[in-house]
Each structure stands twice: as structure tokens, then as C-alpha cells.
């Protein structure tokens, strides 16, 4: 149980497995998301696009990834 907590992040409100620290760029690729279509917050801080390569996602992080959907 502790292991699973230690090796997961909270992604858009739900637990998401993460074996090791992962660059944000790699996480987005794994999720099949294009950087030009999304914006990312880690622990309530927005990550500027220019820093996606160097930003590491770590176990326990709260990650929000948003995109645009139909709306008025």
C-alpha cells in the first residue's frame, strides 16, 4: 500500500502510477498529449512551456493538465 502511494501521482484528481521521477515532456508523450494543446500545473504552480523538458514530475505530485473544450 505504501509502495503504491510512493510511486504514484495525482493526475487530474485521480491516482496515476509513476515508477520513477519523470520529465514532464515524457509524461505528456506517454499520455499522447501535444504541448501546444495543453497547459500544466504541478502542485498548483503553472509550468511554463519552455520548462517542460527540465521539469520533473515526482511521486506524490498533484498534476493538472487542461485543454480547451467546447463552451460558450
Amino acid at each position: 500500500m505504501l509502495d503504491s502511494i510512493a510511486t504514484s501521482i495525482t493526475l487530474n484528481g485521480d491516482p496515476y502510477p509513476l515508477d520513477r521521477d519523470t520529465a514532464l515532456t515524457a509524461l505528456l508523450e506517454r499520455l499522447n498529449m501535444r504541448r501546444g494543446r495543453v497547459a500544466v500545473e504541478i502542485n498548483h504552480e503553472i509550468v511554463p512551456k519552455a520548462r517542460y523538458d527540465e521539469t520533473m514530475v515526482r511521486a506524490g505530485d498533484h498534476v493538472e493538465i487542461i485543454n480547451f473544450v467546447g463552451g460558450g
Binding site: L11, N12, G13, D14, Y16, L31, N32, M33, R34, G36, R37, V38, A39, V40, E41, I46, V47, P48, K49, E64, I65, I66, N67, F68, V69, G70, G71, G72
Partner: protein, 258 residues
């Protein structure tokens, strides 16, 4: 008759119709309706990416941000903090600084929380956003938002999605008279004549979603709205005749047959 340009936050537009992208059957229909409307600005909502269904297409694949000005909204936000957070995220997607600010005060009417809207607008303007706030049709609130530095004010005609048309034309007239920024009627339009009426009053633009997306034939209604906004604008600029109680003949009174 050459129209003056319609400018929002330093960006010039030809079309005075802004359309939403919600409530369509699919992205293909959204795209077809937007094209038929002639709109250059489209509103979108900011939501969490669907992690489990990630092969899904993206709205921006259908509405190219190079062709359309994307106007992210803060729909669903009930506090200034939520709305500010949403705008910051939206800007990071990379479609510019224009945002449609809406802070909802009541779930049933979807009327704005005016105090929270003003609070959020103040912060966002300072952060360099070009803020277009959805507000109650209250002239004083519109003045305050203009003073804060919003690039437009967007009073509602009637509740969102109600299709009731312009419920308070006299307030709207006051808002228009005192405005130094574009006035865009946002919400409440039901059919083409409502849009034309708003433009005839002297509004600078109209924003709508449900009136088009909810019509039996959304593509046809999109075109009707395009024509209505153009016709209303042209009629406003042409200058309508005064209303009179009694008739004045259109045909000459001289030369009548014996």
C-alpha cells in the same frame, strides 16, 4: 458604406459576431457552424484533459488558432480565485491574452457575481490579460469594469441559454452611451431578430452559443445570425427614421387622377 473597425485589445476584427463552441453534436458540426457564422472569435471552455480517453481529437484541430482568435472562458467558476487560475492556465496553452471572464453567482440563473467579477478583473488586467467580462446589464458595473481596464464589457441580454432576447433595452442604451470600450451583448439571444436588435441599439458585437447550437439546423441558424448582425449594424449606421404616431404618405400627393 465603410464600417469602422471592431477592435478588441488592439486586435482588429471584421466580424462582429462572436460564437461559442459548446453543445454541438461533434467537432465537425462545430466547425461547420463557426464557418457559416463568419465569426473570427470563438469562445472555448477550459477543462481537465480526459486521461482515460486520450486518443480523442482536440477542439483546436478543428478550429485553427491561426485562423480564429480563441477566447477562453471561465465558465463554471464561482469565485474570483477560480476564474483567475483558469485564465492563467488558458494563457499558458498559448492562444493569447484575450479572456472571457465570467464568475457565476447563482446556479439557477447563471447571473454573474458582480463583486467577484470586478475583483478578478482587477487582478487579471494587472497581469496583462485582455479581459472581456460577462456582466449583468447594469450601467454602473459596466463603468467600473471599463475604469479597471477591461477591453470590452459584455452585458447579458437575458439569462444564458434562455433565448429570451433583450430584456432591458433601456439599461443597454445607457451602457452603450457611456462606454469607451466595445459593448458586446453576451447571452440571451434566441433568434436572428434579437441579434439584429442588439446591433441596431448600437452594440459593437454579439456573443452567442445556444441560439445557434440549439437550433434545429445549427448551420442555417449560424448563417442567419451572421446576416442579422451585419444587417443590424448597417441599419444602426444608416440611421433609422424617427417613430411617428401618424402616417406620412410615401407617394406624391400631387398629380392624382381627377
Amino acid at each position: 458604406m465603410q464600417d469602422t473597425s471592431f477592435e478588441l485589445g488592439g486586435i482588429k476584427f471584421h466580424s462582429r459576431l462572436i460564437v461559442g463552441t459548446g453543445k454541438y453534436r461533434d467537432f465537425a458540426e462545430t466547425k461547420a457552424a463557426v464557418e457559416a457564422s463568419g465569426a473570427e472569435i470563438v469562445t472555448v471552455a477550459v477543462r481537465r484533459v480526459n486521461i482515460t480517453d486520450r486518443g480523442k481529437e482536440n477542439l483546436l484541430d478543428y478550429l485553427d488558432p491561426k485562423r480564429y482568435q480563441i477566447l477562453p472562458n471561465t465558465a463554471g467558476c464561482f469565485t474570483a480565485d477560480e476564474a483567475i487560475r483558469t485564465c492563467r492556465l488558458a494563457r499558458e496553452v498559448g492562444v493569447g491574452e484575450l479572456v472571457k471572464l465570467e464568475v457565476i453567482g447563482d446556479n439557477r440563473t447563471l447571473f454573474p457575481d458582480v463583486a467577484a467579477t470586478i475583483e478578478a478583473a482587477r487582478v487579471l488586467v494587472k497581469e496583462g490579460f485582455k479581459v472581456m467580462p460577462y456582466v449583468t446589464d447594469d450601467p454602473v458595473t459596466c463603468l467600473r469594469l471599463q475604469e479597471i481596464g477591461c477591453v470590452a464589457v459584455m452585458p447579458l441580454a437575458a439569462p444564458i441559454g434562455s433565448g429570451l432576447g433583450i430584456r432591458n433595452p433601456y439599461n443597454l442604451a445607457i451602457i452603450i452611451e457611456q462606454a469607451k470600450v466595445p459593448v458586446i451583448v453576451d447571452a440571451g439571444v434566441g433568434t436572428a431578430s434579437d441579434a439584429a436588435e442588439a446591433m441596431e441599439f448600437g452594440c459593437d458585437g454579439v456573443l452567442m452559443n445556444t441560439a445557434i447550437a440549439g437550433a434545429k439546423d445549427p448551420i442555417a441558424m449560424a448563417r442567419a445570425m451572421k446576416l442579422a448582425v451585419e444587417a443590424g449594424r448597417l441599419a444602426y449606421r444608416a440611421g433609422r427614421i424617427e417613430r411617428k404616431l401618424y402616417a406620412t404618405a410615401s407617394s406624391p400627393l400631387s398629380g392624382l387622377i381627377g
